[in-house]
């Protein structure tokens, strides 16, 4: 289990190719309007294969914080991640 992360994409380098989405194991669509993975909400799986496939290495991430979750409602995965860290 990995700690949930929030992604950021440098749009200047992104070529909107969708490769990051194609390798993503999320069951529900986890996407942005630009054929990339979502960046407006945390990813609880955090397997990082999206970062690895990007032809121009333009995806970065940081640890998710509670305010990244819609209405601050953190998920089970987030709580687990916090517990493991402490």
């Amino acid at each position: 289990m990995n700690k949930p992360v929030l992604f950021d994409i440098n749009w200047n380098a992104c070529i909107n190719c969708g490769a990051c989405v194609a390798v993503c194991p999320q069951e529900e669509p986890f996407i942005s309007p630009f054929d990339t993975i979502a960046i407006d909400r945390p990813c609880d799986i955090a397997c990082m294969v999206c970062e690895m496939i990007c032809p121009v290495t333009t995806i970065t991430h940081r640890d998710a914080v509670p305010s990244d979750y819609p209405e601050g409602k953190v998920t089970e995965a987030f709580r687990e991640g916090e517990k493991r860290q402490n």
């Binding site: 070529i15 909107n16 190719c17 969708g18 490769a19 989405v21 194609a22 390798v23 993503c24 194991p25 069951e27 529900e28 669509p29 996407i31 054929d35 294969v49 690895m52 496939i53 990007c54 032809p55 121009v56 290495t57």
Partner: protein, 391 residues
């Protein structure tokens, strides 16, 4: 109540979707084809190499509108720059050549114009087409049909259909709506980047450069692009290298046996994308749904070519849907499975075979041996008496 009603709704007007649409309409179906783009094929994420017979098989005439350059054969290079040339102008000069009465083997097409042309052909068969139309979800209705939600410009439209066809390419999400596992393994997606360049000479051949040094997990290519331009690109599989595709192209252009040839190259366009060197999806259907083209991972796992398979897959899908709807069957997953069965029989089983060949090569750990295997396989694949039936 849905606002619109069709026999089938096709999501994505790439080569797979537009071909499915055209051939289904030709057989009397009432078809809606939607694409979220404002200009099909753009930004270009494809080198555009396609054989002439791939187009002929589905009744697409090669026209100037989309042809960048005619192709007459291949040159396959090993990691040291030794090559095997397979030039049909020499192998079968009576048939292949630029002269009147002879034909090219294939073409490098402009995807913007190719995709637009395929949509035009569909439209001329009576297909209704919407651009700036993004499909957002589907729901199976109690009466056995389904309803697709489409954002068309600023309007939300509900469209009723018997079957929805997911032709939404590499980043496909249509399958996920129905819970299909569409994810490609990291080890099986080539991360690609290519440049369209000026001042690099080509000779009407598709050049394929193998070797771990240049394209770890994939291969590099130099294709003629018309007007004296060329495209130089490559694909890497991230588990084979720490470099990204961009760094690797740079290295290939500056350090390979082609560095002299490339030294004046001027970059005119930057393009890229992902190519599944994967097995086709194990399940490409669900209730009221089938997947076709890149969405179903219908890509030749050796060459990474997906245009031919998108066109032929489109024909298989259209024929199946026309038959099924005429027979008055229901559209449950059980019936939709027939599409996959037809596809496996006509195309898929061959692709699985190629997938096994590819897997054998890339699981070889010794790099010189792997290079040798890939070079040998590529050379065989493109040779006229190839044991692999071309797909």
């Amino acid at each position: 109540m849905p606002d619109f009603s069709y026999d089938i709704v096709i999501i994505g007007s790439g080569p797979a979707g537009a071909t499915t649409a055209r051939l289904a309409a030709e057989q009397g179906l009432n078809v809606l084809l939607v694409d979220k783009k404002q200009e099909l094929g753009a930004p270009v994420q494809c080198s555009g190499a396609i054989s002439r017979h791939a187009m002929e098989e589905v009744g697409v005439e090669p026209v100037d509108e989309f042809i960048h350059e005619a192709i007459y054969g291949f040159a396959i290079y090993n990691e040291k720059g030794e090559k095997k040339t397979i030039d049909y102008r020499q192998l079968a000069p009576e048939k292949y050549g630029p002269e009147q009465g002879k034909t090219p083997l294939g073409y490098v097409v402009d995807r913007r114009r190719f995709d637009r042309r395929l949509m035009t052909l569909a439209e001329r068969e009576g297909v209704e087409t919407w651009l700036k139309a993004e499909a957002k979800g589907y729901e199976v209705l109690p009466d056995g049909t389904c309803e697709v939600t489409i954002h068309h410009f600023n309007e939300v439209k509900k469209v009723k259909a018997k079957v929805v066809v997911g032709a939404d390419g590499l980043q496909s999400i249509v399958g996920k709506w129905a819970g299909l596992r569409t994810q490609i393994r990291l080890t099986e997606l080539a991360s690609c980047l290519q440049f369209v360049v000026d001042k690099v000479e080509t000779e009407g051949l598709l050049e394929i450069i193998t070797g771990h040094e240049w394209a770890p997990g994939g291969y590099a290519w130099v294709f003629p692009k018309g007007y004296g331009y060329a495209e130089i690109g490559l694909g890497v599989v991230p588990t084979f290298t720490k470099n990204n595709a961009q760094q690797q192209v740079d290295y290939f252009m500056k350090s390979s046996f082609f560095k002299e040839r490339f030294k004046d190259a001027r970059i005119l366009e930057v393009q890229g994308g992902g190519v599944p060197l994967a097995a086709p999806l194990k399940i490409q259907y669900a209730d009221n749904m089938i997947l076709v083209g890149d969405a179903a991972r219908h890509v030749n796992p050796i060459t990474g070519g997906g245009l031919h398979t998108a066109l032929s897959g489109g024909k298989i899908a259209a024929d199946f849907l026309a038959q099924t709807i005429k027979n008055g069957n229901d559209f449950s997953a059980k019936i939709m499975k027939g599409y996959q069965d037809n596809w496996l029989e006509q195309l898929g089983n061959k692709m699985w075979k190629l997938y096994d060949v590819k897997t054998e090569i890339f699981k070889t750990e010794d790099i010189p041996e792997r290079d040798r295997l890939l070079y040998g396989t590529m050379s065989d694949y493109f040779s006229p008496n190839s044991e692999y039936k071309k797909i």
